[in-house]
Amino acid sequence: MSVQPRRATRSAPATDTVRLSGVGFGYAATHRALRNVNLTLPSGSFHFLTGPSGAGKSTLLKLLTLQERPDAGTLHLFGEDATMAPRRALPDFRRRTGVVFQDFRLLDHLSVFDNVALPLRLAGGKQIDYAADVEEMLDWVGLGDRTEDRPPSLSGGEKQRLAIARAVVAGPDLILADEPTGSVDAKMGERLLKLFQSLNRLGATVLIASHDEALAERSGATVLRLEGGRLHGGGA
């Protein structure tokens, strides 16, 4: 599996990609999903975030994608304070972040090609400029022969690969993945892990939330553990 994403030409920023200081978050006053989380992800680092269901992994990813805002502490992304970033600033943060959602969040009315091309279109790209990159990305995740199909016709594993292709096609500085190997077999899981490692080698900061601790150990990445809303491990 060879990787040729466009971020190969981008120089890595010098600042920490993610820095959380004393971050807390609760969906209700009585339930604290995250408590005093301190986390630094240096540029070009690779971390796994593990923990049991309900530990707060998805909530932490929601904070990093600015779907939710911390109610305590500060959150810095790409060297900028994003704790209370105004809504108009969100697209800039999000274009630098590729996210693989647990539920994929694919657009069923678009073809496989158009789903992958979505971040490039939204960034103002022209089809004539990105078509080759998208085709290459789809070949890379093994969906090169499904470009015109719609997501509902794909298997769970194919959807997962499609979601990953969309997350990385624009060469983001930060890649967040929520259980990216949850719907694929072990062989594909290893393949996807290698994909993330390749992207990391090219300079992307990668954080993978997974309950698969064995995979995390095999990855050689720094493993963070989240339990009861508290973070433990390297980087914390």
Binding site: T65, Q67, R87, R88, L90, P91, R94, R95, V99, F101, R105, L106, L107, D108, H109, L110, S111, F113, D114, L118, P119, R121, L122, A123, Q127, I128, A131, A132, E135, R166
Partner: protein, 293 residues
Amino acid sequence: MILRLFSRRASMLPRDAGGERWLAALIAVLCFLACLSAVGAVAADRAAHGWARQLRSEATVQVRPRVGETGAEAAARAAETLAGVPGVAEAEAMDRKTAEALLRPWLGDAVLPDLPIPHLVTVRLDKAGPASAVSLSRALASAGLDATVDDHSLWRGEVERSAALITVLALAAFLLTAGAAGAAVAYATRAGMAAQTGVIETLSLNGASDSAIAGLYQLRYGLVAAVAGGVGAAVAMALVAGLRFLGGAEGVTPALPLMWSDVLILSPCPLLAATVALAAARFTALARLKGRH
């Protein structure tokens, strides 16, 4: 790959989630009504101005004979006097026969011979520089004639006021129609966004700004409105052209004289409908996106 470079990009929004067919039908009907009200206003204004112009170019003088003078003699003297006033094209004493002919439809033949009929002079005024009622009265008084000048200003004022009222009513009808179309687009945008919450969130998480998302709804409903507006305007154009063809220059009634150019004034309707839809969709989408967070 080569084919893809030339293929049209799919819309980032799913099709028909906001009841677009229903919206298109509604906008087409509203545009049809707006076109009819616009043509009606233009035609009524044209008729009123025609009538006012005609009234402005004429005056009627009633002459009361002096002792020892017949009515016909007084009217002839008045006509002669008025013919020499600057701004008068022609002045003609109305003979009894002509006056009786004017009254016959209302009074019948039986009473006319015994009826005292006023002695009138019909004055046609110069269109370029018509004489005023004051100058006519002054000339008649100088000639020693007891006469009353009616320059039809009362009627003319009524006609002009009616024309202005019709124009205002047509404008109000047009604005109401545009408002209704805007409200329909706003409702459809809200319904579409409510049905596509997941899509909007995915677009946003992939870097779409609120403005870009609003732009998608603008484009969608702007196109729907433009096409529907075109259909509504086309039907209205066909109707106006048909009435002009069947009724000639006066249309179906002298109160609404139609011209072929009236068909052309409806051509901006699709553009106006699209403009209203673009504005309504944008404001609604931005307000909803802002309210979401």
